[in-house]
Symmetry: C2
Amino acid sequence: MPEFKPIRPDEVVIDLPPATAAGLVFIGRIRSAYASPADCPKNTADRTEPAAIEVDPAFADGLIGIDGYSHLVVLVWLDRSRRDVIVQSPRHLDRPHGVFALRSPVRPNPIGLSVAEVLGREGCHIRIRATDFADGTPVLDIKPYLPRIDAVPAARTP
Amino acid sequence: MPEFKPIRPDEVVIDLPPATAAGLVFIGRIRSAYASPADCPKNTADRTEPAAIEVDPAFADGLIGIDGYSHLVVLVWLDRSRRDVIVQSPRHLDRPHGVFALRSPVRPNPIGLSVAEVLGREGCHIRIRATDFADGTPVLDIKPYLPRIDAVPAARTP
């Protein structure tokens, strides 16, 4: 069990229900320049460090037909996150927020999502422009990014 | 175990590795007009049937601060999907594709993703404009949609 950061005032921790039988398989790993979550950038806009999705060869056939997509949705398992802090007080916000109103890695199911720009692919090694995930983070899924359903540039935020 | 559709020619089934200890918790359920996955629309653009995310009251505090977001990313567990068909031949494509080049519900980790437009919220009941998930589908996560990182309208598809 990793050491967790202290809970801040106003943050709320809950008892999670027991995990279900809905088991996950890891289909690959993130390769990045960041050894641990603490080393990961909050914002990848100007990042130039090498980053890749390394798919396990057992799942290689799953990549057939993927090359025409400029962007992929990557789902990862944030295996070093705690899961029970339901209300959090991030430094950049002036009041506590529920986990479902945050993109925090600390969540009941610590599934990270990012839209990755593809630079190229050599077999099971997909080079991407940047990542905010630590090296070795397990990958759960890769989906083609479909702007027709995934891109909502006019979406409103508070 | 549900009955699965027959495997089409050119489709490929693999032995999945054993599921890991990365257990999931269900934080709610989808409420929709579709009793089973077979009833779900492929395209929700013109759909007007009622649809909602029903968050389990144990996770209610996780919704604090969510109301200013017009769109949410919803991750669900497609609990009635098979998981081992790594190459698939959907009717609308002229050749087989790997699962990671498809948005098929059949995938090693059957996690469904949709960008949902919020119509309103009454406590743990979040009304959304449409869904292509069956009634009762377990919800894994809700994330605020952030157009700055999630919207790539110019993303290319083959």
